[in-house]
Symmetry: none
Subunit: 197 residues, 4 copies
Amino acid sequence: MSKEKRKPGRPRSVEADNAIVEATLDLLDQGGVEAVKIEEVARRAGVARTTVYRRFPSRSDLVLGACEDVVSRYLSVPDTGAVRSDVVELLTTLIHALTRTRARHVLPNLLALGTADPKLEAATRVVWERRRDAMVEVLRRGARRGELPADADFGLLADLLHGPLYYRLLVSGAPIGRGLAEEIADAMLPVRRPAGA
Amino acid sequence: MSKEKRKPGRPRSVEADNAIVEATLDLLDQGGVEAVKIEEVARRAGVARTTVYRRFPSRSDLVLGACEDVVSRYLSVPDTGAVRSDVVELLTTLIHALTRTRARHVLPNLLALGTADPKLEAATRVVWERRRDAMVEVLRRGARRGELPADADFGLLADLLHGPLYYRLLVSGAPIGRGLAEEIADAMLPVRRPAGA
Amino acid sequence: MSKEKRKPGRPRSVEADNAIVEATLDLLDQGGVEAVKIEEVARRAGVARTTVYRRFPSRSDLVLGACEDVVSRYLSVPDTGAVRSDVVELLTTLIHALTRTRARHVLPNLLALGTADPKLEAATRVVWERRRDAMVEVLRRGARRGELPADADFGLLADLLHGPLYYRLLVSGAPIGRGLAEEIADAMLPVRRPAGA
Amino acid sequence: MSKEKRKPGRPRSVEADNAIVEATLDLLDQGGVEAVKIEEVARRAGVARTTVYRRFPSRSDLVLGACEDVVSRYLSVPDTGAVRSDVVELLTTLIHALTRTRARHVLPNLLALGTADPKLEAATRVVWERRRDAMVEVLRRGARRGELPADADFGLLADLLHGPLYYRLLVSGAPIGRGLAEEIADAMLPVRRPAGA
DNA sequence: TATTAATCGAGACGGTACGTCAAGTCTTCTA
DNA sequence: TAGAAGACTTGACGTACCGTCTCGATTAATA
């Protein structure tokens, strides 16, 4: 069944694949989108320019392709039985994703690229939306368990939980430490209890 | 006293100044940083290329210069006598600043540019920091009045208040409505009271 | 004797042979040497690029190979018993060779290629030299029969007879009609008689 | 009077003009049309690629432009009072033009280019036609003086006079010596006298 | 009938040159 | 001096072919 229908012709080099992505991420991190020059990517990857173009028809595709694995990792919907720990878990993995070596510069550049290229913008949004969806899901489950008021605005709450992280990463540049996930959860979650008090 | 020491030679054209900035903002909004081409700016401004270069030595300078007035407007530290209304006032002006016609695209592009150019990054941060400082100031004043616990983490609180706005603008693209400032304030401010209860 | 030593392995496709030559001639005729692109030849011949390379190691080889049958046809040394008719016969076959459907463009391109590739130049010259040799032979025979003065410069005479054809084909582009062979012969041959008069 | 209406902006560099033409001719002579690579022309001329493109929008234009002065020099309609010397004069200048250092390779390549580009073909033909027209004019004058029969086919005669030169240059590669002009004139001109004898 | 040896298609690979575009500098004339 | 106009160098863009290379699939003659 796993017939592995090999296509005719010489197969693509996997080393080239990796080298190209790595080179792209390095450049993106060091000098922003503008520094991602196909010529330089090829040079660093030790690959001909055409080899890059064969995989990624345009610079947008290259950047998005290279970012995809960086941003989409570390995502799962946890279910620890308690909202707080679920939320902390989600925020922690998000912090991981955002502060990985090269991701710090990847995100703003991706967002800026999206400004000019709607296709890219959509592709980028999808990635981040999945995280928000996960958060909303976790909050809903908490409400079903009675940990949160059933009529809470889960969407707004999710934005409030995520917001500070992106704010610090993108705008203020303030450090994003280990304890931040818990601080945010502590600041936000009890909030809703007094409403029932 | 106001001797207006006129420099010798032909004085610079003020219309040119404005036209250049406007053209730059338009392009930035329409196609991102990459679309800001000196030649096109000059063409739209009805000006020679040299005239642009005389004012802004490089493209970075041009972009930053053009953005400066957009981002720094609408800023003052309100003092209504109550935290909540002060906060709502600050958030509202921020929403104004962020959702102005062209700002939506200007911000991410500025942030991405900062990724590659530390000077630009610093210049950009300063602008946004002033807003956060204003928020922290307002919160402190509230604490002094007893409206907030004195030992609250005002920095984190400010980030929690600002975060959702940037998150929606930059990442999720969700609409930023008129009522949002109040929703955020309501969600966050009572939180601290129960700590003292 | 017709041992037909078949080599082992799959024999070469004859259709491919023909298709490649035809495609090459078409391109040569339509767009000159520069238009003979291996990739395009392969495409038109409905053949893989490697199949072309297997037959013709280089583009020069391809062009020369394709031209060879076009230019070398229609050659024989006539012997009608009279110089004039021999000459007319030779000129007529030359006109045939030069004005065949695609030959019109083949010759100049071949000559230009020879400019850059001495091997090709030599190969090309050989083909045309055979025609001149035939003409000289015919003239010598005429001299032996007393139709021409024995001390005539047969080489120059041959060039004078051939020259107008190539001149019209290559340089002036003037039409080369059916009667031209006779006109040339009439203009040149009587010349030598008055010398004896 | 000599108002020399200068156009605005920086004027084009004359050194660049010359260097480009020279580099083109060198390459054309050394390796044929295919060797005329814009990149290499620019390199040899010590000039940026764009500077070449500004003057000559395409390679055809470049080659033709560079050839124009080579081929059009040495042309005038002589009037010595005798056909023979007029013809010898014309043939001699043609020999000069054809055997100049680089012309040997320039001509065939120009002709081959014409094969693919009708505009170029026309431009090239014009240049050579002027020489033939001059020859025809000289012959007509001779006829008017009674040196040639009035009903001679001057066009064919001109082709017969020019043909051998081009034939040797382009096809046979035979040497084109100093005495050739007279040999050809002697071989062709007396021919017509006996008609009147 | 299986093996063997060549051909054929497809297509990836490292390259070179193309023609275009924009950046930033320089030169000239005019206001 | 500023400004307009435009030539200039530099360097990246994305495309098109080059000639070489791996592959799997044919195709015959041979073992």
